[in-house]
Symmetry: C2
Subunit: 75 residues, 2 copies
Amino acid sequence: LVEYQREWLHGLARAAALAVEEGHFRADLDTEQFAYEFYSIILAFHHSSRLLRDARSEERAQRQFERLIADSLPA
Amino acid sequence: LVEYQREWLHGLARAAALAVEEGHFRADLDTEQFAYEFYSIILAFHHSSRLLRDARSEERAQRQFERLIADSLPA
C-alpha cells in the first residue's frame, strides 16, 4: 500500500513535469510540491466526504484544486 | 471522533473569522474554506510523514501553509 502511494505521487510529479515541458505549467514549478499538494486535496476530500459527510466537500476540494492549477500556470 | 473533528474544523473557521475581524486576514476570506484547507495540510503532513516516511514532509507542509496564509492576508 505504501509503495503504491509513493508510486502514485511519483506519477503525479511526472505528469506535472510533462505539463511543464509542454508549456502548460510554468517552467519554475516545483513538480514534487505540486504532486504533494494534489495528493493533499484528494486525501482531504475523502476524509471530508466519507468520514465527516460534509455536503460541501466537493465544492471545497474543487476550489482548492482550482487554486493549485491557477498557481501552476505560466505567468 | 467524527464529532471531535467537526468541532476542530469549526474552531479553525472561528479562529480565521477572528483574524478577519481583527484585520489580519482579508475581509472577503471564506473562513470555512480556510479551515478546510488548513485541515488538508495537517492531514497530508501526517500521512506523508508517518505512512510514507517522506523526509521532506515538513518542508512540503510548510510551503503549502505559507501559501494558504499569503492568500488570506489583506491585499
